[in-house]
């Protein structure tokens, strides 16, 4: 017999006591979680305290921050300290009396780690109780489309313009008032005022200087035989597909197909995510990767500057490979008259939030009065050909094209 009875009893005893112990510890803790979620107002205060505490410790470890320049690093550290100390005293822009106690449901395609601190600041400044559902942008867009006008969401914060465009197309968004909208360059918002960009993300060539001395300047360079088998990309990634859409829209279907075919014939290496491309380039598996600009800084934050060898090279101005896509927000139709929803959008375009995105996620702030991170080139120099971001939802044709050349 496999288990004699005493061994079996011992096993059962261990398992059951573990289960009992876990359940016992679980009950009060779970109850605590519930209360926290319900009493968000209280929780918001607590979290603010915690974030403040975290922030004040940040300057202590500036070495783990980006390679950039020392000056840049100190700016980040200094800015972090200022936000931490001044946040509670900042005068809220929206009328706190009217907003206090209101509830807001946000569907967010942006990662919780990146968004939560700024949500907390919004709650603190306005007294609005925010609950956020975090998931993938496209999956949330699909969810919102299935929910239709029965949705509980007031605001959709998406990772890319395509997801926002899909909801615009199904007429799910309300119009954002011009006063709010006009703070952002028309290039980075919907023509019909249904969504507005909050932060910008540029396409770059991440390259390994140990392998190539002169980085590529244009997507035309990538079809050169010297890059054969050495370029990494993510055909399934929304950012890459947006780039291909931009290529189609600006250069025409035929030119786009020609480039994609030549690129495919140069044996590029497929990766599951942008992050994986940067890791692969850093390991020397590939020489160049097609990614968004901030993945490099995420890598630096995770691994430390001394362990990251790769650099970003921005496509030269006007190159078809250049594209600044946005993460943006839209207000759902039934929340058109909801002051908390509008306050949220306004807050995201306010100085506090824009500075946060510039300094914490290394994205381009889209409100001109807020400065970009010093390690980034000016946004005007990295923009590709002029295209309408609203058209980035014409992904169906892009997918068909990618499939026809065998990339998907």
């Amino acid at each position: 017999m496999l288990f004699n009875s005493s061994a079996r009893n011992a096993l059962l005893l261990t398992v059951s006591s573990t289960v009992v112990a876990l359940l016992a510890s679980a009950v009060p803790a779970h109850a605590a979680t519930k209360t926290t979620t319900k009493a968000t107002a209280k929780a918001a205060k607590k979290t603010t305290k915690r974030t403040a505490a975290v922030k004040t410790t940040k300057p202590g470890a500036p070495t783990t921050k980006p390679t950039v320049t020392t000056a840049a690093t100190t700016t980040v550290a200094a800015a972090a300290t200022t936000t931490a100390t001044t946040a509670p005293t900042t005068a809220p822009k929206a009328d706190p009396v009217a907003l206090k106690g209101r509830k807001l449901v946000v569907y967010s395609g942006r990662a919780e780690r990146l968004l939560k601190p700024i949500i907390t600041q919004f709650e603190f400044a306005t007294g609005v109780e925010v609950s956020v559902r975090y998931a993938d942008s496209a999956e949330l867009a699909a969810t919102l489309l299935e929910e239709g006008d029965r949705t509980k969401a007031n605001v959709f914060f998406a990772q890319d313009a395509g997801a926002l465009g899909a909801l615009t197309k199904e007429k799910r968004f309300a119009k954002i008032p011009a006063a709010t909208l006009n703070r952002v360059d028309p290039k980075y918002r919907a023509d019909d005022a249904t969504w507005v960009g909050v932060s910008g993300r540029a396409r770059v060539f991440v390259y390994d200087p140990r392998q190539i001395s002169t980085p590529p300047k244009s997507i035309k360079d990538l079809i050169d035989p010297k890059y054969r088998g050495k370029v990494g990309y993510v055909p399934t990634n929304a950012s890459f597909q947006s780039f291909v859409t931009a290529l189609r829209v600006s250069a025409g279907e035929d030119a786009a197909k020609e480039w994609l075919t030549a690129f495919k014939n140069n044996r590029p290496v497929v990766y599951p995510s942008n992050g994986a491309v940067v890791v692969a380039a850093n390991k020397g598996e590939i020489a160049v990767g097609l990614v968004n600009h901030y993945y490099l800084y995420e890598r630096i934050a995770a691994d430390g500057a001394s362990n990251v060898y790769v650099r970003n090279e921005y496509p030269e101005k006007g190159d078809l490979g250049g594209l600044v896509n946005v993460a943006g927000v839209g207000i759902l139709k039934d929340s058109a008259a909801d002051p908390a929803s509008l306050a949220f959008v306004e807050f995201m375009l306010g100085k506090e939030a824009q500075t946060y995105f510039a300094e914490k996620t290394f994205e381009y702030p889209l409100v001109p009065s807020v400065a970009r991170h010093p390690s980034l080139p000016p946004i005007q120099t990295v923009e590709g050909p002029a295209i309408d971001l609203s058209k980035l939802d014409s992904l169906k044709q892009t997918l068909d094209l990618l499939r026809s050349v065998g990339m998907l």
Binding site: R8, A26, R113, R133, T236, L395
Partner: protein
């Protein structure tokens, strides 16, 4: 209610039929949804999507992967079970647990770890990861079946002149057959629905294409059409399995089984050791060591202990709820499937398997679609998530319930009835003691699956609820292995509780007082 009709063409009692039909109704909700969405494409849209060259290729790739993984899981699972149950290999007690442990590792975690240490990808990578994660679905029921086989049957065959090999082929294997096929069915359906491993390994199959359709074009119609095709494939596979079960050998009760003496391995012991080492290293050591390395490489990754604890508590809570509700739904289906053979029973049983082969995202969107329309009070609340788990994992519980109820022949009921027991008392005193371990094993399987589930959890959970899997997703979305590792390790630890329980239940000889 007359619970104790023999396994015949008789019509099942109405109460039971209604209960089973309710369970099946939950499982077919996604089918209605994809049918509605697919029909939006119109006949021409459906035709274009179905006749594309890629659709055919995807079908071939999905079925090839499912076939290859299923066959290798059946071979590995059965041989491992034999070695643990019947051989004289030292360390079998440790192996019994270690071989079941990979069930607690989600495929996306295994795929991540393999990717980080090797260049393996494509078909090979998907095959490797899915095989190492899924073979316990065969190993555990077969191990349990071995424990239930009465050694005397084999001894009689030996005494009649059959050699060891002939005994295994003609006596033992037929007795194992239904366990092997029901385990293999779960493997096949799981492979069809898996997204994590294939997407990370960059092997394009049906599920990746369905996800791509949502992510890329925000167009729900092509995804739904592909989903319909997947559902058809599922029905075909389930029918195939049911058929092989009907042809399977005699169903004997576990009864008073006596275990045989261990078979000496002799010169084969090195080979057995080699196989065990290979299986344990690839399926358990590689993922666990890599995870540990990630965690140790970044000790100050800044994982909040409170977040981790809350995630563990929430995971335990929702998984327990999922396991209990799913088992409750599965019992009537299992009872019907074990005891009645009418067309109605066949339909109900097959229907209950549908959810398992559809990707979690499709199930989630189906429940979003119906939830927001007809179940508004529970939409984005805990009950919705629990229903989602039931739809996804019903087959795990149905299979176990059916197998264990089949172990209790109707004759037992009849004897108990003839001795003056009323049906409730028959259930309590005869049926329960025999079937409880198997049903418990099914519940443990569902619990495990819930712990690891991601796509449906993300969309159906109450706002703010964070399971370990959703936390892990958050951290890997920002490509931070150091912060992700503690959550991955916690998933494995939490999931190892039911795995441990499963092994104990699978090797527990029936009490025969």
């Amino acid at each position: 209610v007359n619970w104790s009709l023999p396994r015949t063409q008789h019509r099942p009692p109405r109460v039971l039929a209604v209960a089973a039909a309710t369970a099946a109704a939950f499982a077919v909700v996604p089918l209605f949804y994809i049918a509605i969405r697919a029909s939006e494409g119109g006949l021409s849209g459906i035709k274009t999507e179905l006749w594309r060259r890629q659709t055919g290729q995807l079908l071939v790739r999905s079925l090839t992967l499912a076939g290859a993984v299923t066959i290798s899981c059946a071979l590995i699972g059965t041989s491992c079970a034999w070695i643990v149950a019947r051989s004289d290999l030292p360390g079998r007690r440790f192996l019994a647990v270690a071989l079941a442990a990979p069930l607690s590792i989600p495929t996306y975690v295994a795929a991540y770890t393999w990717l980080s240490i090797s260049g393996i990808s494509g078909f090979t990578g998907s095959f490797l990861v899915l095989t190492t994660c899924c073979y316990p679905y065969v190993y555990l029921p077969v191990l349990s079946a071995f424990t239930g086989i009465d050694a005397r049957q084999e001894e009689v065959a030996r005494s009649l002149g059959a050699n060891r090999r002939a005994v295994f082929r003609r006596v033992t294997l037929p007795l194992l057959r239904s366990s092997i096929t029901s385990g293999s069915l779960l493997v096949a359906l799981y492979v069809l629905s898996d997204f994590g491993a294939v997407s990370l390994m960059r092997f394009d199959v049906f599920t990746t294409s369905i996800f791509l359709s949502y992510r890329g074009s925000f167009d729900r119609t092509p995804a739904a059409i592909l989903g319909c095709l997947l559902a058809v494939a599922t029905i075909a596979i389930v029918a195939l399995e049911a058929r092989s079960r009907r042809e399977s050998g005699p169903r004997t009760a576990r009864g008073a089984a006596r275990q045989p003496n261990p078979s000496p391995l002799g010169r084969w012991s090195m080979a057995a050791w080699g196989l065990m080492a290979l299986v344990v290293v690839t399926s358990l050591a590689v993922p666990l060591v890599t995870l540990a390395k990630w965690a140790l490489d970044s000790p100050d990754a800044g994982v909040s202990f409170v977040d981790l604890r809350n995630a563990i508590v929430d995971t335990l809570g929702v998984s327990l709820g999922g396991a209990l509700f799913t088992t409750l739904l599965a019992l009537p289906v299992g009872l019907l499937a074990a005891r009645y053979r009418t067309r109605f029973v066949r339909v109900v049983e097959s229907a209950s398997y549908l959810g398992h082969a559809l990707p979690g995202l499709v199930i989630a969107l189906a429940l979003v679609f119906f939830g927001v329309r007809v179940a508004t009070p529970i939409y984005q609340r805990l009950p919705m998530l629990i229903i989602g788990y039931a739809v996804l994992f019903l087959p795990l519980a149905v299979g176990s319930a059916r197998t264990s109820i089949a172990q209790a022949p109707v004759a037992f009921d009849e004897v108990a009835r003839s001795l003056g027991n009323r049906p409730p008392s028959v259930i309590r005193r005869v049926l329960m003691p025999i079937t409880a371990p198997g049903i418990g094993a099914g519940a443990a399987l569902v619990f495990l699956a819930c712990v690891k589930e991601l796509p449906a959890t993300l969309l159906l959970r109450p706002t703010g609820l964070e399971t370990l899997a959703s936390r892990l997703w958050t951290e890997t979305a920002v490509a931070d292995y150091g912060r992700a590792a503690p959550y991955a390790i916690a998933i494995v630890l939490v999931a190892s509780i039911p795995t441990f329980l499963l092994t104990t239940l699978s090797t527990r000889p029936v009490d025969r007082r």
